[in-house]
């Protein structure tokens, strides 16, 4: 187990390094510079600014500086907001995005699994058809459409919930619904399909022959096996949710990372771009790693460590 984790950890570092390099190349490949919008056309000021941010140095040196800033976790100040460092921006924006993302993930996983399981248990019944109708709708409607619909109907017309911002648990409800509907639908469909398959297995029949209660059969024997595919897609789904938060944050005026991220690219604010990209990718890679470990816990046949083979 420790060996496996070490291996995975090294892989993680390599992955992040590759992402960082790609980010650097791409960010420099975009035409323009952070100072394009400055009203001044004085070349001396321009040159001084570039010198201050070390943008006048040759690319390889800049790349090394960039790597250094990643390793030391010090991205320096934002170019556009010189009185704020990238770290401040991250520490202010990320917790909010994280809250939104995790709340969405929890809602999507729990409701998706429950919905899918009941659909499978009532195969071809009303619950099944209802759940699958919901799933098709949920997958088809983009989250930004759902978000605006929710704001219009629930917040504006009915006035039940606040339409925007992020200041109380009540404010979380609409953005989380908007963001979670798609993933919930996907998880529900996946759980249902995999549950239907598991329920025909011999060990389920054997559990029934033992005279166990239906609840125990589902909870103990079926669910764990049926959740394998769900765990598999959870990693990539998390990536989708994280990027989805950018759009949802914009619509609901949530002060998360999304705003800074999009603005920084528009402004060619190099330190902020690299800070947020590397931070996000590191987070994502770490979550995939967690999912892999989780997978090993769910299915003992997946060996995370070298132990004795078949006896």
């Amino acid at each position: 187990m420790p060996l496996y984790i070490l291996k995975r950890f090294i892989m993680m570092i390599v992955t992040i390094l590759i992402i960082a390099t790609l980010t650097f190349v791409l960010m420099r490949a975009i035409p323009g510079s952070p100072f394009d919008e400055e009203r001044t056309s004085n070349p001396t000021i321009q040159a001084n600014l570039e010198k201050f941010y070390k943008l006048d140095q040759p690319m390889p040196i800049q790349y090394l500086n960039y790597l250094k800033s990643i390793v030391t976790f010090d991205y320096g100040p934002s170019i556009k907001k010189p009185n704020e460092s990238v770290n401040t921006l991250l520490s202010r924006g990320f917790p909010i995005s994280f809250e939104l993302g995790i709340a969405t993930m929890i809602v999507a996983v729990l409701s998706g699994i429950v919905l899918g399981t009941f659909a499978a248990l009532r195969h071809n019944g009303i619950i099944d058809y209802g759940a699958m109708t919901f799933a098709v709708i949920g997958i088809s409607i983009p989250n930004f459409v759902l978000a605006t619909l929710l704001i219009q109907q629930v917040a504006v017309n009915w006035g039940w919930l606040p339409p925007a911002t992020w200041s109380s648990p009540k404010h979380m409800i609409l953005p989380v619904i908007a963001l979670a509907t798609g993933p919930t639908a996907i998880i529900a469909r996946l759980t249902r399909a995999s549950m239907l398959e598991v329920l025909t297995q011999d060990y389920i029949k054997m559990a029934r022959a033992k005279g166990l209660t239906p609840f125990r059969i589902v909870a103990r024997h079926a669910l764990r096996n049926a959740l394998m595919p769900v765990v598999t897609i959870m990693g990539t789904m998390l990536a989708g949710i994280l990027t989805g938060t950018f759009v949802i944050e914009k619509i609901f005026a949530i002060p998360g990372m999304g705003k800074y991220f999009v603005e920084s690219i528009n402004n060619r604010d190099y330190p902020v771009i690299m800070g947020s990209t590397v931070f996000y990718s590191a987070f994502l890679v770490f979550m995939l790693f967690v999912v892999d470990i989780l997978y090993g816990f769910l299915d003992p046949r997946i060996k995370l460590h070298k132990k004795e083979g078949e006896v």
């Binding site: 011999d202 060990y203 029949k205 029934r208 166990l212 209660t213 103990r220 096996n225 078949e310």
Partner: protein, 369 residues
Amino acid sequence: MTGHQLAASTSFAEAPATIGGQAGRSTATDENSTSSSRADKEIILSVQNLEVSFKTFGGEVQAIRGVTFDLYKGETLAVVGESGCGKSVTANTIMGLIPQPPGRIRNGQVLFKEKDLTKLSKRALRDIQGVDISMIFQDPMTALNPTLKIGEQLMEGVRTHHKVSKAEARRKAVEMLDLVGISNPEERLGQYPHQFSGGMRQRIVIAIALICEPELLIADEPTTALDVTIQAQILELFAEIQRKTGVAIILITHDLGVVAKIADRIAVMYAGKIIEIGNKREIFYDPQHPYTQGLLNSVPRLDLQEEELQPIDGTPPDLFAPPEGCPFAARCPFAMEVCERVYPASTQLTEQHTVDCWLQDARAKAVFS
């Protein structure tokens, strides 16, 4: 059509024992024990005129069409027949594992201790499943849950039904693993199914089935998925367990070698009906139904080298629309006009031997002799 000897062996692993005359000896003792003790042995399971069908897109399949038999305490009844004849449906119906729908019990009773299992509520049935009646499945590779330790799978039955402490359940589990011949039971409890070989897994499945000390064990092709050497070991295990615990066994199989080895009585099924039933000696030496004879002829025999295998021509009837008369009539070399029109009545040949065939009718006997 006379002169059927004991076609005891189909699998090569058992052949030497058979040729050495051991089978003959064991048959004799079997017969003694069954015939002498039969009168005083109580019936623990009585299946009466059971009919089960399944709804499919193509129509309603009549999987079993009037199965009747009794099972005595402590005996082994083998149910034989080719694929699709209703053996497994019979087993699953007794066990209460027929999903309804699509399955439907159209008629009949399964009487166990004076209770009709087909009429019990699911809750009441659960108190019998795994406690009084247990089942062993065909493929040990899929019958165990891959994500649970075998200890948990063993103990959950006892803990559900007997409300014993964890330590007590554990002690029982160790005892069961010991009984089925698994060494280091304590350590083995913490392992997962993938850490065991096929034969070992079947032993664990048997241990799970027996842990609540059932009176009836239904084994649905318990050796089919195993290789021959393991088959022999598992069959010996069955015999040993029966000796130790006195459990009655219904053995579903299509392997006559298995039957010859451990059965007391044999029921031959064809197209959803039991067409002949009798003790082992009667079925092997004196089969009366042309289908039983065909079945025995289609088994390879080591003691008759020259003879070619004789397959039974044709295929079993379509159970969507089973024939009115004898279902075997279309394949039967002795079929008469009456066979295609009317299903034959049962003829009681001896105390235990019953056959459903028109050849037993006095008028038919006159034609053939």
